[in-house]
Amino acid sequence: MSELNKRETIRPIDFSTKKHYLTKVFPGPFYSRQEPLNVLKEWGRWADYLSPAAYTCSSMEYFAGRSTCAVFDLTPMTKYRISGTDALPYLNRLMTREVGKIKAGRVGYCVWCTDAGQVIDDGTIFHLREGEYRLCSQERHLDWLMTNTIGFDVTVTDETHEVAGLALQGPTSCATLKDMGLAGIENMKPFGIGHFEFEGTELTISRTGFTGDLGYELWIDPQYAEVLWDRLFEAGELRGIKPMGDEALSMLRIEAGFIQAHHEFMPAHETVRASHTRSPLELGLSWLVDFNKPNFNGRKALLAEKKRGHRYNLVKLDIDGNKPANDSFVFTTRKKFVGTVTSAMWSPSAKASIALASLEAPHGEPGEEFLVEIYYQRELKWSRVMVKARVISGVFYDPPRKRLTPPADF
């Protein structure tokens, strides 16, 4: 190998010294397996982990997610362990929803707010075992979670680096896990959690995901990350398993209609301009806000907002034509500006141009029609069209297999 081609070897990071932040960007526990597969060498940065944007071709990775199964490295997702006698009251003050409804062995979606009722982030609460919770989110929140501990007998531990995670998403995901020898996996219901013996350690699996499809998330001690990857790809070889990067996942989540920080909302703690945040009511998450609880962060402000009316509605748009409406402005049919598109794509599964958009209230009733301003180019020639769009109430793409238990054997 010539000197020019010699690359610096990237080694897994030793977190025990607590000096990992000095290395700025570091490889995750699956790096040795991802690196040869990542033919494009396109690495992004997620919470300081190297995270593949795409391995070969994001479209093909997307289709694996919808037609066979795709594997996404979840390790960089922040994971906080929450335990102690006050874990539930603590979470109930922190979260807008009633956390007591998430029984042991179940996962619940949640959102949390500042005192002003503005969304800090959304995430998932894993009720791993009775009274033992794990909170997963895209952004980091240790400072806020610690502030929230005042007055509660609760322990919050950042275990992001102690747990490796893989998402296995797509129609053949269940069959792959079954082939891997995980007996009974087919009986797990959506949002369920199971613990399995695996190579002498514990493998925790939840039937969750960010794709709106049949899928699972696998959680394991990072020391066993490589063997998990190997066993998974071995089992999935004939089931069309493929590694998937961030770009493909992003397409899958827009089709699923899921919101994401920095797209549909700015995390309130990162927002400089106070009016640029969103409340849960403005993100269509009022079903996650339980005013029957006597206290939670943002309750007072949200009650006032409920009375006064909120400023924005987050809607799903079905747009005519096939031109993706990224970053578009939205107008009424009489050409009055009412909002912006937050995420958009041509959806291969829904066979439609779809978008999530934030519209000024009271606009956004299902069926309401708008004009979307799309800029596009053909061979460097730019054009602008005003395309008709309408608000839909359902989901863009909703395969029944995502709910079926046991899932069909593909």
């Binding site: 929230n148 005042i150 206290n295 309750r299």
Partner: protein, 517 residues
């Protein structure tokens, strides 16, 4: 809302009780201690010897409170008025400072005239600060008329200083008293003594920014220093008498264990013995941290507010020394009349700053600063005939001490007495009994979290609409039915009663018009 509970019968709690009872509210005051007064009490610390256990000089009592509650007819009188300050010198060549002039210590004429000018502008500027004392702090970013009016009045007060004084006010308001005294004076005793105005009862040295603001706040009562007859407890007793006269029910030895809620509303309090008392409103004169964390519970609040409360700077740095003496102490160079004044040990301003240095590193001062009074000279009810009581405010004695107060207290007490001996050589032999209250003792005895007698550092960032924190600065709290009326609220500590009076107004306003936001 007719039935209210006030937690704590300190002077602010009693003031608030008196005003609300006067307006026809059914008021119950619950005091944990056996006597009313909180830290404004006179208590026996040795057989036959009594002392004001907290503040020993009265200079800020709200004139409105005094008049409107007829405190004189409720028993308040004074054993001494318009007290002077004596800046003690080790060689006995002391400097005598009165409101009008300086005497002794070979003071120069230039210092004399500078002192006149200093008094003039300090009085004017303190008047601006004092002008805000009797108002409910305005909320920022609101269109509420009374809030806007208060803001406008405050701005007008500053503008009314005139061009030159306004510019000077804006220049000096936020800086340190060291620079101001260096600009104006030469004599070390004068600078040392005046610097105490900026640092007594605070976590500041003369060179700390904001020490000019604390000095102005201290002078903002615009009245001379006085001693109530019977000690500071007499103020509280008069307030209790006034409150009872208007119909308030005051219960002592009734310690509140917690404030309880019904849904998202405050419903009442539970006492240590388990007795539950319901109320339409609970008004706490306890410090904000005690109120919100110990009594209400942080879990009943939203986390952003909890963070603000936990960040209030409220660590005491002041100790109190009480000596029972078997005779009148002899101070070098002072006659009996002069002994009755306010005596200060702050020989120069560097001495004061050096004393503060230790506090930054969780150590007590090696050469402490002291403000000394001998109240028994004016009031023979405080000590047996021929015997005397010495009361001293001593700095710096940080709440958090590296070695802990359990091991350090005896040594620190000795060290303070050593310091006194340099001015009164025979005093140690006269001591019959001694008592030292460190901030930890103050916290325990008066239930003030952190032992800070102002219930939170008096600073520009913890004043007006920022006191104790935004969201609770109008004597209200984020929880419906819970109000604050103590020194932790505007305009802060010192025996004033203004916080109690303003809080009563805020409660009445909330009752008649509901909460406007």
């Amino acid at each position: 809302m007719t039935n209210v509970i006030i937690i704590g019968a300190g002077h602010n709690g009693l003031t608030c009780a008196a005003y609300l009872a006067k307006e026809g509210k059914q008021v119950t005051v619950l005091e944990a201690a056996e006597q009313v007064g909180g830290a404004a009490i006179t208590r026996e610390f040795a057989p036959g010897f009594k002392v004001s256990a907290g503040a020993h000089l009265l200079y800020m009592l709200d004139k409105n409170v005094r008049k409107e509650l007829s405190l004189e007819s409720a028993g308040l009188s004074f054993s001494q008025l318009d007290m002077k300050t004596v800046a003690l010198a080790e060689d006995g060549n002391h400097l005598h400072i009165s409101g009008k002039a300086l005497q002794g210590a070979m003071i120069t004429t230039s210092d004399q005239s500078a002192y006149q000018e200093y008094k003039r502008f300090m009085t004017r500027f303190a008047g601006v600060i004092g002008g805000m004392h009797n108002r409910i702090p305005p909320r920022v970013g609101t269109r509420n008329f009374s809030d806007l009016l208060t803001l406008a009045k405050t701005a007008l007060n500053v503008r009314m200083l005139g061009k030159d004084d306004m510019r000077e006010f804006l220049r000096v308001g936020g800086i340190n008293i060291y620079d101001i005294l260096q600009e104006n004076f030469e004599h070390p005793l004068l600078k040392g003594a005046l610097s105490l105005d900026g640092i007594l009862g605070t976590n500041l040295g003369p060179r700390s920014n904001n020490s000019m603001f604390t000095a102005l706040h201290r002078l903002s009562g615009l009245q001379g220093m006085a001693m109530p007859k019977g000690g500071m407890g007499a103020v509280s007793d008069a307030l209790a008498t006034a409150a009872r006269k208007h119909g308030a029910n005051i219960r002592t030895s009734a310690e509140v264990a917690n404030i309880y809620m019904d849904g998202d509303q405050v419903a009442g309090v539970e006492l240590q013995d388990g007795e539950k008392i319901t109320a339409d409103a609970v008004i706490s004169s306890a410090d904000p941290r005690t109120t919100f964390f110990n009594l209400l519970g942080a879990r009943n609040l939203e986390a952003g507010f909890v963070r603000k409360i936990s960040n209030i700077r409220m660590r005491g740095n002041t100790a109190k020394l009480h000596l029972a003496l078997d005779g009148l102490p002899e101070f070098n160079g002072l006659d009996k009349n002069q002994l009755g004044e306010r005596l200060v040990i702050a020989p120069d301003i560097e001495y004061v700053e050096r004393a503060f240095n230790h506090a930054k590193y969780e150590e007590h001062s090696v050469k402490p600063v002291a403000e000394i009074t001998i109240p028994s000279l004016h009031d023979d009810s405080l000590a047996p005939a021929g015997k005397h009581v010495l009361s001293a405010v001593v700095q710096y004695a940080p709440y958090h001490l590296k070695q802990g107060w359990d091991t350090e207290k005896a040594g620190f007490t000795d060290l303070v007495i050593d310091t006194l001996e340099q001015y009164a050589p025979a005093i140690r032999q006269q001591i019959v009994h001694q008592e030292m209250l460190t901030p930890v003792d103050i916290e325990r005895e008066f239930r003030i979290s952190g032992g800070h007698w102002h219930h939170g550092e008096l600073a520009m960032d913890q004043f007006l609409m920022l006191r104790p924190v935004p969201g609770s600065a109008q004597y209200q709290s984020p929880v419906d039915g819970l109000f604050l009326c103590g020194a932790g609220s505007h305009p802060g500590g010192g025996v004033m009663g203004s916080a109690g009076r303003n809080a009563a107004n805020a409660v009445l306003k909330a009752t008649t018009r509901g909460r406007d936001s």
